[in-house]
């Protein structure tokens, strides 16, 4: 935060509004016991984060967040919700003071850590100075491609992206193995609930 004086510029106001809304949505998600509302709010949360990424000029990340976070995650969580109850069980009292203390301590530590963080857009910040600068300088000559993000993702860090694809593949296989019985062949009579009264 050193050397960063917030002024009332339009960008600052947009960032402030987006972050405030993010916080409000997060609080609403915590307070709601209605799982359908929570799923919808998490979609809104992702959409707001995507808008915030756009304001940070990270359009590729924003695109992914909008497509994956706000789009398909919401759908998959709705699908998961259909397999369980519509409402969250009321929380059990007792552990709250310990959890609150832990959250406050960790939160304070995180706030303390932000003091050491370089200012946004600082040219000498580690993220911009070392390897990032190399990517920006070399992409034009080594991988003549307008979108540096794609060059980094698919070529400089192609091995990482292969790992990510492997992770997605593994997730699909795991879901098939866990939920596959019956449903893959079109059967719809598989039920997770052993006694129906507990669900109601």
């Amino acid at each position: 935060m050193t050397g960063y004086a917030p002024s009332l510029s339009p960008v600052f106001l947009i960032d402030l509004a987006l972050l405030t809304m993010l916080m409000l949505v997060a609080i609403a998600m915590l307070r709601s016991r209605h799982l359908f509302a929570v799923v919808m709010l998490s979609g809104i949360y992702s959409l707001l984060s995507a808008a915030f990424f756009v304001s940070l000029d990270a359009v590729d990340v924003a695109f992914t967040e909008a497509a994956v976070g706000a789009g398909i995650s919401t759908v998959l969580m709705l699908g998961g919700m259909l397999l369980t109850a519509r409402r969250e069980k009321p929380k059990r009292p007792g552990r709250a003071p310990v959890a609150l203390a832990a959250v406050i301590v960790v939160g304070a530590a995180l706030f303390y850590a932000t003091i050491d963080m370089p200012a946004f857009g600082d040219a000498s910040a580690p993220a911009n100075a070392d390897v990032g600068q190399q990517y920006v300088e070399r992409t034009a000559s080594e991988i003549p491609m307008p979108n540096i993000v794609t060059a980094v993702l698919a070529s400089y860090r192609g091995f990482d992206t292969m790992g990510e694809t492997m992770v997605i593949f593994t997730a699909g296989v795991a879901v098939m193995l866990l939920l596959g019985a019956g449903s893959a062949r079109g059967g719809r009579d598989v039920s997770d609930v052993e006694n129906k009264d507990e669900e109601a």
Binding site: V59, L82, L83, P144, P146, T165
Partner: protein, 146 residues
């Protein structure tokens, strides 16, 4: 499944969504986008179809068997590109080996396009697989159950 407006709208939207997915897939070199986003958008088109026509209809259009094969093909496209570059005598995923002696790194372009296609195929197939398995498990819920 008697929602006429939803069905007509989804029919109108289906082709543009697929087209947009292909645009995001193959325009990733020039603008924001790439295999991950394109795969998700592609899957969303079929999820919309499933919402409006029922999962059974979507399963007829795109059976799970095809998705399982597409998942494997997507990943093999990626790792296979790496193996090909190794067989051509370069490092794993060093795309320059695909078009040797190119003055403008054409190999990088080919390699990235193939690899992104692999990512897109794998992601689209996996997302639809997860969707099929989650929603295909329980009977349709009643309207008043919401």
């Amino acid at each position: 499944m008697d929602h006429l407006i939803l069905r007509v709208t989804s029919k109108l939207l289906f082709a543009p969504i697929i087209l947009f997915a292909l645009y995001v897939q193959f325009h990733g070199d020039y603008g924001p986008g790439g295999g991950f986003q394109a795969g998700v958008i592609f899957a969303v088109a079929f999820i919309l179809h499933a919402f409006c026509f029922g999962l059974e209809e979507t399963r007829k259009v795109l059976p799970q068997k095809a998705l399982t094969i597409a998942m494997v093909i997507g990943f093999l496209l990626y790792s296979g590109t790496g193996l090909v570059t190794m067989l051509l005598g370069a490092n794993f995923l060093d795309y320059d080996a695909l078009v040797p002696n190119s003055t403008h790194h054409a190999g990088q372009h080919y390699g990235i396009i193939i690899v992104e296609l692999g990512v897109g195929t794998a992601v689209a197939a996996t997302m639809l697989t997860i969707f099929y398995h989650f929603t295909g498990r329980e009977p349709d819920i009643d309207q008043e159950d919401w």
